[in-house]
Symmetry: C2
Subunit: 210 residues, 2 copies
Amino acid sequence: MTNKNHKDLPGKTIERLSQYRRLLYNILQQNKHNVYSHELAALMNLTPVQVRRDLMLIGHSGSQSKGYNVKGLITLIGRIIDSETGQKVAIAGLGNLGRAIMSYFSGKREKLSIVAGFDNDTQKTERIIAGIPCYHINKIQEVIAKENISIVILTVAPEAAHEVARLFLDAGVKGILNYTSVPLTLPDNIHLEEYDIVTSLEKLAFLVKE
Amino acid sequence: MTNKNHKDLPGKTIERLSQYRRLLYNILQQNKHNVYSHELAALMNLTPVQVRRDLMLIGHSGSQSKGYNVKGLITLIGRIIDSETGQKVAIAGLGNLGRAIMSYFSGKREKLSIVAGFDNDTQKTERIIAGIPCYHINKIQEVIAKENISIVILTVAPEAAHEVARLFLDAGVKGILNYTSVPLTLPDNIHLEEYDIVTSLEKLAFLVKE
């Protein structure tokens, strides 16, 4: 199993692997070197069986008596979900949300880094924000090619969403994380993750109301 | 169907109703008063059949020739997902992300409003940010009760997530939208929506890598 291509892992499994790894980093910081499936399960609100199944899918089985080796598991998850050479990300839209994501993500992952910001407001460009150089959107083509950026996080105004997405696709980007409130229709070979704050909040409000 | 309690609608349907309504507001702004299921479907990357099924679930059927009445549909969706009296929301954590959400959401919905911010940093409190009064976390109990706040959006540092969530639950909040990277375990009567930026980005990066 470990030697095969993991491209067929379900999206939800990938999400959980990312979450396990984040927890494992926290556990390591507490100088704990082994962890049981029931501990990971409790931290994630899952059953221990689900945790063991996920980790068996990527070819890992813990020891009954000592649990999983934390460092070993971090390395293994990295081998599955990270790209060997690293991947580069751009942010389009340098408003509050764009800047929040820049500072939040900065330095969090070795193999995945935000290397450029873009905006059409010249007040926000030709400068460095949270350690990241920021450019005018007329430099998209040039910077994406030079830096070999494959992913863009879209935090622009709704009315600009389609046009800006198109500019990044034309420049060769392969994945878009869409934080605008506008659903995007993209070619089949482009990967898309969408998230909208209003929807999450409205869903929660519906569940909460009497 | 319209007279029954809609509490049993699936979460995914609620999410889509919220998204339909957002699109309908945009359509109305363009002075368009009718919309076909295939137009909504194209905007949402759904099939027209899915759109018609969702809207039939809430008791609405369009006319073959003219489609759906935009204003009527906005009103109907509001009747299902909004609370009649309105609901109040607090934000905990007034960093970049908290402030981004405050300004993003401000005035977007009549029946759902962010009415208070909280932080433990006195530099950020006892003042008004994006029109919203911000308080020290030692005022949680008092403000939540006085304002009758039922939902909190959590954007605090990971190490504070559990403790701050607990303070809001003790104050009577019924729903938490968790933007920290820490999964929360909450009592069964509390509603929880979780979202983590790193996970979305890592999942997308996995899909994009060669």
